[in-house]
């Protein structure tokens, strides 16, 4: 027991005095979180700058502007059509919405029609659904506000978007369509039968950061474990393992102290990443702390056992480094660390389905942010445990002390 303690202290000292190892272990995941967090969540703000061109200038168009201004995701900038399109070309606006001349008049006409109809007979169902007609590739999208039944009164809002900015264009088009639809419904006087209410589990900035932080924590635990192979092979190559083997030190103590070190590093990484996730991106752990600890420990153990498998087959420190890269790189990019597996090409999805990091990332995501499950949590943990058992078996069979 004394030997386990002194050996663990020796390992901690060796680790913390090796500046390079220290940097890669702790700074790397932190840089990843900050970098990818910044890239994917657009600096933490997801408001779109939208040009507002009012060619109508009536009370109705002012009302419409009011409706759009209430949407927190949009920041409206008034201007002429030419000036707005210019600003969009320069990248200052992500879309331009044009309210054409005659909008107010069309709205007034349709209100009269509806009033007349409701006083007359019940003949509903004939009204064409209000729609947004998209012409992709053309650079402009027309969201049609079509007045019911009497088609001549129809007027179209024009929405200019940039086809090269797919995701923001789609979002803006969707927002415009939604506003238009609800206005349409209000005009026809029919109460909405079906509604959608948006709910998120975390703060408003959840989206990408909430996905990334657990993913990168998983990646850090993966690397921490797999990279255990390198110092292990170095110790074997330098005959340190052989020398230790010439003492009465039991082998389990040696392995145990290495595993304790890995767990401690994993703990520090977890605290570090959760801290950054919480302070910078507002991502906090929703699940029970004990469950979180269980997932982190199981993950660290599983990947450390993979590190031991690598160490079983690598003869030199250099080859260990190479194999570690071969193991960790595909996992980094094919396990849904940075983007969901659902959007991966179909041919790669079966690969993701066997990689252990997929399940660690999924388990962390479920426990930390209540993210949608790739697999049920018990299955995640079961698959990690299976990897652990298999790798321990392989390492026990093939690991050499010299």
């Amino acid at each position: 027991m004394n030997a386990l303690l002194t050996l663990t202290i020796a390992n901690i000292r060796s680790f913390t005095r090796d500046r390079t190892a220290l940097f890669w272990t702790f700074a790397f995941p932190v840089i990843f979180v900050l970098l990818f967090g910044a890239i994917f969540s657009g600096g933490g703000s997801t408001r779109y700058a939208v040009g507002w061109v009012d060619q109508d200038g009536t009370a109705a168009s002012a009302e419409l502007r009011q409706a759009f201004a209430q949407i927190t995701l949009l920041r409206l900038h008034d201007g002429s059509l030419a000036a707005s399109l210019d600003a969009m070309r320069q990248g200052n606006l992500q879309a331009v919405v044009v309210v054409p001349h005659g909008y107010g008049a069309a709205i007034a006409r349709s209100a009269q029609v509806i009033a007349g109809r409701t006083s007359g007979a019940a003949a509903p169902g004939g009204s064409p659904a209000p729609g947004a007609s998209a012409t992709p590739g053309g650079g402009a999208v027309h969201a049609g506000l079509v007045a019911p039944s009497l088609a001549p009164a129809a007027v179209e809002l024009q929405v200019y978007t940039d086809p090269s900015q797919q995701s923001s264009s789609a979002t803006i088009r969707q927002i415009v369509s939604q506003v238009v639809s609800s206005l349409d419904l209000a005009l026809t006087g029919r109460p909405p039968a079906l509604g959608v209410s948006d709910r998120t589990l975390q703060s408003q900035r959840l989206t990408n950061a909430a996905f990334l932080v657990p993913g990168i924590l998983g990646m850090a635990l993966m690397q921490l474990g797999v990279f255990a192979a390198v110092p292990l092979v170095a110790q074997r190559e330098k005959l340190i393992l052989k020398r230790l083997n010439a003492t009465p030190l039991p082998r389990w103590t040696l392995v145990g102290s290495n595993v304790v070190l890995r767990l401690l590093i994993g703990l520090v990484q977890t605290v570090l990443l959760l801290g950054i996730g919480s302070v910078v991106f507002g991502v906090t752990v929703l699940g029970a702390p004990w469950l979180m600890a269980l997932v982190v420990i199981l993950g660290a153990l599983t990947f450390t056992s993979i590190g031991y498998v690598v160490a079983s087959f690598a003869r030199t420190e250099e080859s260990a480094n190479g194999i570690v890269q071969v193991v960790q790189f595909p996992m980094m990019f094919l396990s849904g660390v940075f983007f969901p597996i659902e959007i991966m090409p179909a041919v790669l999805r079966p690969v993701a389905a066997v990689l252990p990091l997929t399940y660690l990332g999924d388990a962390l995501r479920q426990v930390m942010v209540g993210g949608s499950a790739y697999a049920p949590l018990p299955l995640d943990l079961g698959i990690l445990a299976a990897w652990l058992v298999v790798c321990l078996g392989i390492a026990a069979r093939f690991f050499r002390w010299e």
Binding site: N2, A3, L5, T6, L7, A10, R13, S14, R17, D18, K238, L239, I240, K242, R243, L244, N245, A246, T247, P248, L249, E402
Partner: protein, 323 residues
Amino acid sequence: MARGADCSGGRSGLNAELQEPVIEVDGLRKRYGDVVAVDGIGFAVRRGEIFGLLGPNGAGKTTTVEILEGLRKPDAGTVRVLGIDAARAPERIKERIGVQLQTVSLYPFLTVTEVLDLFRSFYRHSMPTAWLLEAVELGERRDAQTRHLSGGQRQRLSVALALVNDPELVFLDEPTTGMDPQARRSLWSLVQRLREQGTTVLLTTHYMEEAEQLCDRVAVMDHGHVLELGTVDELVSRRFRERAVHFETLPELDLRELGDLAGVKRAVVEDGQTVLYTADVGATIGALLARTEALGLEPRNLGIRRATLEDVFLDLTGHALRE
């Protein structure tokens, strides 16, 4: 070192144990693939002696030592260390022996003191760190990280680690390799101090001088065989009652011809030196000078010496110890 007679396992019959060999090797064989490293050797080491395995690199010394240390399993033969079967129960031996491996680099980021304390924690009984530092003269470097030590200092640390548990039996594998002459001499005096305290030492070396200075008995090894075993004096006088006449080799002189000179038992050429082993130094030198004069030559650096272990080795194997 403070080891009393009662520390030897608490067994009765102390005298019997003292007489029993500390190491017994019989019919030991070990091969790696196609290479036979150790080919059926046998020897015994007595309690309290310094026993040397002498031979060139690749002779099988290290393999033999590592089997004795319980680090490798023999293919055949019996190996008893401190009365324990080293192949069956290596764990029981490890507490009582000290081991110094040939190549060492230990925990580069730990200091000398930290490495010593780490190893002390592996044993039930251990020597004080200050004593160990003093024994290998590393006191001044106690707080240096081992990666900053010189080769010789690292070697001394490695020897200190072999003494951590105050062992009954110490294995030193090429202990002075990479040391400067001064460090080598100080290590020799440490080994002699160990013997005075009753510790048995088995060391391997390819330094003739080391074996001559330190070892009570020597086993000469080459190609996995023990060629000769005995005290240094025995080995030398058994083979060479004669002396060695040596000079820088002259290409004009035929070796066979030299072997026929008066008094010469055997003539060999090694490292640019011709060595004539002779029972009659005067007659041999006279004959040699007469022969060279007839050819109009003069032997350079002509000298006479007693035969050494080096000569024994040369005679036994036909090649020099250091290659």
